[in-house]
């Protein structure tokens, strides 16, 4: 058994793709700490976690969607739009209420995509492509093509409060991953997501609620995109209509590096976390080394392709046995 067995018993980690990606992340960290003396410092490690928060949260929703065999191209523009909505609501309502409104907004957009995909049978790629264009366009219109600043200082608390020295945004990220992992691994709903992605006919014949679990990932993805943007706003204290640009590509890349199959049914939340960390570490390391931001895309693209190529070669070898 060369590939993952991610479900019930504790997986035999040594043989899983997720484990190999953990290995890649560690190797990457070791290399970077040799090249740059600034990399392996407490401050920089917290930096990496801090920088992982936005991508990490969005990637959780993307994982759910991809596990059902779908894709959500709209997360970047949903994040942008809900960021603007949040900034505007903060001027009218107290912080918690504004956040709830923004997150509900994201969830509603996800519901819209999910219903079109699951009820009307439209292709996820096309539906979310449409929503992506609409979301970005609306965020320019709602914002009046300007970035919105002057947000209440209290918003910063959700990032800069610390518990036992750990910032709350990092705590939220880790808690989200643990909760999602437990849900996907041990709950009926989570396993139903896998069943829907693996063979929706089998799931239907087994009496599972395929309709709900085909829509839910898009709702979660929309809500999480808005949640991610909330943390982003709290850090930069302004909302820009271009916010969250290309976030969908980073999120899809992280999920795929983490070993998920774009055909659905295969993947894990632990793998996604590794994918996120790998992406962020590369960015962080290249920044420390003073590499031009224009080269970073090339570097990240190359690493994604190399990681998947290596994985394919490894599984080929084991299949030939």
């Amino acid at each position: 058994m060369s590939s993952s067995n991610r479900s019930l018993a504790m997986p035999k980690f040594a043989s899983t793709l997720e484990f190999r990606m953990l290995g890649l992340a560690v190797v990457l960290a070791v290399i970077l700490s040799f090249i740059s003396p600034h990399f392996f410092t407490e401050r920089n490690l917290f930096n990496i976690l801090d920088q992982s928060v936005v991508l990490g949260i969005v990637a959780v929703g993307m994982t759910l969607v991809i596990l059902t065999g779908g894709i959500d191209l709209s997360v970047g523009s949903v994040a942008g739009l809900t960021g603007i909505v949040l900034a505007l609501m903060l001027k009218e309502f107290p912080i918690p209420v504004a956040i709830v409104i923004a997150v509900s907004c994201g969830a509603l957009i996800g519901l819209f995509s999910g219903v079109l995909i699951a009820v009307f049978g439209l292709a996820p790629f096309v539906v979310t492509l449409g929503v992506m264009a609409m979301g970005r366009s609306l965020s320019y219109i709602v914002s009046g093509q300007r970035s919105i600043s002057g947000l209440p200082m209290g918003l910063q608390d959700i990032v800069y409060t610390t518990v036992l020295g750990i910032p709350t945004n990092v705590i939220f990220l880790l808690a989200l991953y643990v909760a999602t992992w437990a849900w996907l691994t041990y709950s009926k709903g989570g396993r139903t997501i896998y069943a829907v992605g693996s063979n929706i006919e089998a799931a239907r014949a087994a009496g599972l609620n395929t309709l709900f679990y085909s829509i839910f990932p898009y709702v979660a993805s929309g809500a999480l995109a808005a949640t991610a943007m909330t943390f982003s706003l709290a850090q930069i204290m302004s909302a820009d209509p271009i916010g969250g640009n290309q976030l969908e590509l980073d999120a899809i890349a992280a999920v795929v590096i983490g070993g998920a199959s774009l055909y659905g049914g295969r993947g894990s939340i632990f793998g996604t976390l590794m994918g996120v960390l790998i992406m962020v570490m590369i960015r962080n390391g290249l920044n420390l080394l003073g590499v031009s931001p224009f080269w970073q895309g090339t570097a990240i693209g190359a690493i994604i392709i190399l990681a998947l190529l290596a994985e394919r070669l490894i599984t080929w070898k084991s299949r030939r046995l």
Binding site: S3, K188, R191, A206, G207, L208, N209, R320
Partner: protein
Amino acid sequence: MPDSAPQEPLLVAKDVTRIFGSAYALKDATITLRRHEICGLLGANGAGKSTLSRIICGHLPPSSGEILFKGAPLAIGSARDALRSGIALVAQETSLAPDMSVLENIFLPSYAMPGRLSFFQLRQQAKDILSELGHDHVLPLDMEVRRLSAAQRQLVEIAKALALNAELVIFDEPTASLSPTEVDRLFDIMTRLKDSGKALAFVSHRLEEVFAITDRVTILREGRTVAESLPTMDLTQADIIRHMVGRDIGNVYRKATTTAAASERPVALEVTNLSAPPAVRDVSFSVRKGEILGLGGLVGAGRSESAEAIFGLRHRSGGRVVIGGKELPPHSPIAAIRAGLGMVAEDRRAQNIVPDMNVGENLFLAQLGKHKGFGRGQSARRKQADELVARLGLPADRMDASLLHFSGGMQQKVIIARWLLVEPEVLILDEPTKGVDIGTRQAIYELLREVADRGIAVVIISSDFEELLGVCERVVVISDGYTIADLPASQLSEESLTLLAAPRSSAERNLAFLRDLVATHGGSAFWGLIDGDQFVSLAVAEGKDDARLGLESGHVYPLQETPIPNALAQLKPAAVEEKDGRSTLLARLSNRRGHELGWVGLSMPSGKKLPDPEALSARIASLFETTRDEEIDA
């Protein structure tokens, strides 16, 4: 007998009609299922058996009709409601989630049930179910289903239905990819379910199985029920076939009339020492032009894998494949096709059909691969295609319809025709009649016969031994990845074939037993099967210093030509003397169901004394004192 006391039916489906598009899949079909009874649901392909099964299980809503379960109307068209009422289906097209483990697939329906999940408990339960099926050792619970073979998937399907503990279970062709041993086990389980008061429906094309397991049969023809709840005991095979097809069918099999000149025809395909571990270890056989060769063996013996390795679909680690004097390179199907090899793979849906292409495009698929040049190269073949279509009875005007709209038998014909279009030298067919009704089967056999008569070498892989013996001139038996026998079909019977195909582990055990006998008593020991006036020698252990007996394993001898004709003719549990003074002691081998496994004999040249018959019988009995799970139904 349960049918002597008429009782309240558990489920009654009345006047069920289902329309697909404008075609009736079912028209006023009726079926009654009772507790303590197994009801066979029969019919030709396209008669509506699967549709009716799926409607009862809520996978499909009927267009009209009524289903009463325990006297109350059943909410129709909801799989969840059907499952909760206690109705389970062992589906034909396996409805498993390939990326999930065996364990999760078995308990998939429990994800929709209320209550807490305990994976620990489920694991225990799964182990119990699988050991009941006798397959705990070959079905690792954590294995992803995509890695399982077709037979193993079928077992997961069955385990899934058993896990539901349903009151009514419909088995839709559950035996299609099972070996005889596994079928036996399944029948044991079905009998147990019946005895515990459940109602079972059994859909199958195999009439022998229907007679072996069902109490009553309901027969569908063209979507209508033509015979309802007839007691199986009162029926003959001919009765059932008459109901199914509405006419009499003669002998299904038509053999080549002339086999005399066969050995002079040139060899078309020669396979020597083929190996592709782990499934294929050492396979050698050859087939001549115009010959139909059968590759027999149990499911998982390495037959399909051998075919794939020959064709280049599977990595070949050793051996030679020669077609028409030219050696084929490993893993290159296109080179195999250009050399004149055609292959109809086992899994029609996954390996043969391109579902998004229409009938015509599917027909020309192999041609597309063989043709060198930029265009599709179809015009040159059009006339040939038209002829083929006419002969196969395919509607010529529906060439642009989706292949999926046709029945399994029709799809198979199209796929065979696909290969005939490229004019192969050798055509390999893996389970060509799997899931095909008896009428279409006959048409396929006739087609293959015709193909062979045109000089094409045909290789048929089949688990249906009756079919192999009926259609093939020669049968090569593969067991555990080794070729172990190569015999003319006329010298084989279903029993001897079953015996030869038995897993090698049992043969090894028996051979060890024979050697042991020779070591203690001297003389020569043998194990074989007596079939009419023939003796099939399966294993022989010759003594060191005694005169040799002169039997060889894997050969078939007319009784009179063996060195021990008297002993084999009398079959007495006592010493029998031959003309030359040789004396032989025979004892019958049989498995726990009393199924004969042949005869074990110990033979001494004249002047040597045989042991006591009682001692030999006792030693043979000890051979079968194995636990149930270890026993091999040789």
